[in-house]
C-alpha cells in the first residue's frame, strides 16, 4: 500500500552521494575492534566475578580510599580550573596586552605536553628543594608528595578544558546585551554577575565536567608528584596498575569497572548539560 511504503522505517535517508556502505563499514569495524570489544571484555570479566566478590573488591578499604582521593582531588582541581579558567578566558577575549597571542596558544600546552613530562616538571618545582616548594616549606606548606600535589597536577592537566569551552561562548556575547543592561541602570558589576556570568554557566559547567572527568582518570602527571602513599595519596588508576603487577586481575578489573561506570555518568551529565542549555537558551527560531 502506498501509505505504508511512504512511512516505512528507513535506516537512512536516500542520498546520491556514494560510499555510505564502505565508510560506515570501516567505521563500525574499526570501532568494534579497537573500542567495543576491549571495553566489553572488561565488563564481561567483571561480571564473571559475581556480585558479592565484585562488591568486596570494590569496598576494600584501599580501593575506596584510592577512589575517594581520585574523585576528591579531581573535583577540587576542577573547581580551581573553573574559577581561573573563566578569568583567563575573560582576559583573553576582552583585553589587549602584550603577549596575548602566545598566552592563548600556551593554554593548549597541557593537551600537547606528554603527561609524564608535566609530572616530573611539576614535581621538580613543588618538591621541598624545588623553586616553589622551597618557598613554601618555611611556611609549613607541603605540596609535592601529598594530596595537594595531586591537585596541582590535575589543575595543570585540566586547565584548557574550562578556558576552551567558555572562550567561544564569551566571544559570541552580543555587545548589545551588555549595553542593554547598562541602559537599564545596571552597574558594571551587576552586568557581569547577573547578565554575563549566568549566560556562561552551561559552558562553564561543561568545561568543569570535562576537567573533572579527565582528572579522575589521569595517571601520568600525578604519579610523580603524588608520593603514592597508600590510603593517603594513592590514586585509583595507580592502584589498578599495582593490582595488575600483583597479577590480581579481579581487583584491577573491579576498580576499572567502577571508574568506567562513573565516567559514563560524567559523560551523561555533560551531554545533559549541553542538551538542557540548547533547549532553553539557544535560538530555535
Amino acid at each position: 500500500m502506498a501509505f505504508r511504503s511512504s512511512t516505512r522505517w528507513r535506516f537512512r535517508q536516500p542520498s546520491v552521494i556514494p560510499g555510505f556502505g564502505l565508510a560506515l563499514g570501516v567505521t563500525l569495524a574499526w570501532l568494534t575492534l579497537i573500542v567495543l570489544i576491549p571495553l566489553s571484555g572488561l565488563i564481561w570479566r567483571s561480571t564473571s566475578l559475581g556480585w558479592s566478590s565484585f562488591m568486596s573488591l570494590v569496598l576494600d578499604e584501599r580501593t575506596v580510599n584510592a577512589l575517594t582521593i581520585s574523585f576528591g582531588t579531581a573535583f577540587i582541581a576542577a573547581v580551581v580550573n573553573l574559577f581561573f579558567g573563566v578569568v583567563l578566558a575573560w582576559v583573553l577575549v576582552r583585553y589587549r596586552f602584550p603577549g596575548k597571542r602566545v598566552i592563548d596558544a600556551m593554554v593548549d600546552l597541557p593537551f600537547a605536553l606528554p603527561t609524564a613530562v608535566a609530572g616530573i616538571a611539576l614535581t621538580a618545582l613543588y618538591a621541598p628543594n624545588g623553586w616553589i616548594g622551597s618557598l613554601l616549606e618555611p611556611l609549613g606548606i607541603k605540596i609535592a608528595f601529598t594530596p595537594a600535589g595531586i591537585v596541582v597536577a590535575l589543575v595543570f592537566v585540566g586547565l584548557p578544558f574550562v578556558v576552551r569551552t567558555v572562550q567561544p561562548v564569551m566571544e559570541e556575547i552580543d555587545k548589545e546585551v551588555e549595553e542593554a543592561a547598562a541602559t537599564l541602570g545596571a552597574n558594571r558589576f551587576q552586568t557581569i554577575s547577573r547578565v554575563l556570568l549566568p549566560g556562561l554557566l552551561p559552558a562553564g559547567l561543561t568545561g568543569f565536567a570535562l576537567a573533572f572527568a579527565r582528572g579522575v582518570g589521569e595517571y601520568g602527571s600525578v604519579i610523580f608528584i603524588a608520593g603514592n602513599l597508600p590510603y593517603v595519596s594513592e590514586i585509583a588508576p595507580l592502584l589498578i596498575i599495582i593490582r595488575l603487577e600483583e597479577f590480581n586481575y579481579p581487583a584491577a578489573t573491579a576498580i576499572a569497572t567502577v571508574m568506567l561506570f562513573l565516567s559514563f555518568i560524567m559523560l551523561l551529565v555533560i551531554n545533559s548539560i549541553q542538551a538542557w542549555s540548547r533547549r532553553r537558551y539557544s535560538n530555535g527560531a
Binding site: T183, G185, A186, N187, L201, R280, A285
Partner: protein
C-alpha cells in the same frame, strides 16, 4: 521629557560620523530619525542614550546637562535592533531587571516590581508568557518584551534602534500600528531610528531626515513629503524625477524649448528640476511641455507607471497616471508638464548676479505650483 541636542559632533578616528548636529525633541512626541545607512542616525541615538560620547557638543534632558551622566544615570529606555534580551532569564525577569538592579534605597519592594512587570506585559499583550525564555518566543514577541523591559524603568526618553528591522513584513506592519497605540497611551518621549521611509512617515509625529552625518530636514511627515528642502530629501523620500534645465529671464527651458513653467524671481543659469511622478498633467499638443517616447509601461496597483525617454543625454523619467488616462494616450509619445515642482541650484551654477553665495549650500531656489 524634552531632549535637546546641541552642536553635537562625533568622530570615529578621523571619520566624522556626525557634524554639528542640533535637534530639539519635544516632550511626549514620537520622532523618527530617518536616513540611509551611514547617515549617522544610529550614532545620534546612541549619543542620546549615553552609549557613545560626543567629540563635541552637549545633550540636555530637560534643563539638565545629560552629557555629564553615564548611561546608567540617564534613566533611558533603549530597544536594541536585535532586542538584546537576556537569554538565561525568563520574560518576567527580563522586564523586571531594570528595577531589580536599582540600589536598595530606590528599589521598589519585590511584590511591586513583579506587579509592574506583569502590568507591562499586559500592556504589550504578552500576558501568560512571563515564564517563557526568549528563545521560546517569536520575533515579534521578543520585540515586545524588549519594549516592555525598556519601559519598566519609567525612562525619561524611549530610544528604539531599527525597532522593526529584524521582523518580516507582515509582523512589521502590525507592530508599527501597535507601537503608535502604546505611545499614545503611555506618552513617553520616543525616538526611533529607521531606514524605512514608509515606517517613519506613517508612525512619527516628526521626521528627522539625515544624510552623511548631518540633518537635512526636520518636519512633520506632510512637510517632508510635500516640501522637501533639498535634492537629497526629494530623492530619498518617495519617488522623484530630476532633469537638468536652464533658466532664462524667468522661463524654464529644457534643452531647446521652454516647458511652460515660470520661475520669475530666479536669476539666469542652469538648475535641476525635481517633480514627483504623480504630480503631472498630460497635455494635448505641445506648446511648452516635456515630451518623450514611452519606453516601458507597468501597471502598479491602482496606477500605471510610464517610463519616458526624454532624449539620449538624460536619464529616463517616470510618470504615474490613472490607468484609464494612460490607455487613452498615444502609446508611443507623451507630452506632459509637472504640476508641483521644485528647482534646486548648485553653487556656481547660478549666474554672477546671484546674491545667494553666502549660504553654505545654496540649494533651495523656488517651489512652483
Amino acid at each position: 521629557m524634552e531632549v535637546r541636542v546641541q552642536n553635537i559632533r562625533k568622530e570615529f578616528g578621523r571619520f566624522p560620523a556626525l557634524d554639528d548636529v542640533s535637534l530639539d525633541i519635544r516632550s511626549g512626541e514620537l520622532i523618527a530619525l530617518l536616513g540611509p545607512s551611514g547617515s549617522g542616525k544610529t550614532t545620534l541615538l546612541r549619543l542620546i542614550a549615553g552609549l557613545e560620547s560626543p567629540t563635541d557638543g552637549t545633550i540636555f534632558f530637560g534643563a539638565e546637562d545629560a552629557s555629564k551622566k553615564t548611561v546608567q544615570q540617564r534613566n533611558i529606555g533603549f530597544v536594541f535592533q536585535h532586542y538584546a534580551l537576556f537569554r538565561h532569564m525568563t520574560v518576567l525577569d527580563n522586564v523586571s531587571f531594570g528595577l531589580k538592579v536599582r540600589p536598595s534605597s530606590r528599589r521598589p519592594p519585590a511584590a511591586d516590581i513583579r506587579r509592574r512587570a506583569l502590568d507591562l506585559l499586559e500592556l504589550v499583550q504578552l500576558s501568560g508568557l512571563e515564564k517563557r525564555y526568549p528563545a521560546q518566543l517569536s520575533g515579534g514577541q521578543r520585540q515586545r518584551v524588549a519594549l516592555a523591559r525598556a519601559m519598566a524603568v519609567e525612562p525619561n526618553v524611549l530610544l528604539l534602534d531599527e525597532p522593526f528591522g529584524a521582523l518580516d513584513a507582515q509582523v512589521r506592519k502590525e507592530l508599527r500600528k501597535w507601537l503608535r497605540e502604546i505611545h499614545d497611551r503611555t506618552g513617553h518621549t520616543t525616538v526611533f531610528v529607521t531606514h524605512d521611509q514608509e515606517e517613519a512617515l506613517e508612525l512619527a509625529d516628526r521626521v528627522v531626515v539625515m544624510s552623511k552625518g548631518a540633518i537635512e530636514q526636520v518636519g512633520t511627515p506632510d512637510d517632508i513629503y510635500d516640501h522637501p528642502v533639498s535634492p537629497f530629501v526629494y530623492g530619498f523620500i518617495g519617488q522623484s524625477n530630476c532633469i537638468d534645465v536652464t533658466l532664462s529671464s524667468g522661463e524654464i527651458w529644457f534643452e531647446d524649448r521652454p516647458i511652460g513653467l515660470r520661475a520669475a524671481s530666479e536669476p539666469d543659469g542652469v538648475a535641476t528640476l525635481y517633480f514627483r511622478p504623480h504630480d503631472i498633467e498630460l497635455i494635448d499638443g505641445c506648446g511648452g511641455c516635456l515630451a518623450g517616447l514611452v519606453t516601458a509601461s507597468r501597471r502598479v496597483a491602482g496606477t500605471r507607471h510610464l517610463e519616458i525617454d526624454l532624449g539620449k543625454a538624460h536619464p529616463p523619467v517616470e510618470i504615474e497616471l490613472p490607468p484609464e488616462r494612460a490607455s487613452s494616450t498615444d502609446h508611443t509619445r507623451v507630452a506632459f508638464r509637472p504640476t508641483k515642482w521644485t528647482l534646486f541650484r548648485k553653487e556656481g551654477d547660478v549666474a554672477a548676479v546671484s546674491r545667494q553665495a553666502e549660504a553654505p549650500v545654496s540649494e533651495l531656489a523656488r517651489t512652483g505650483t
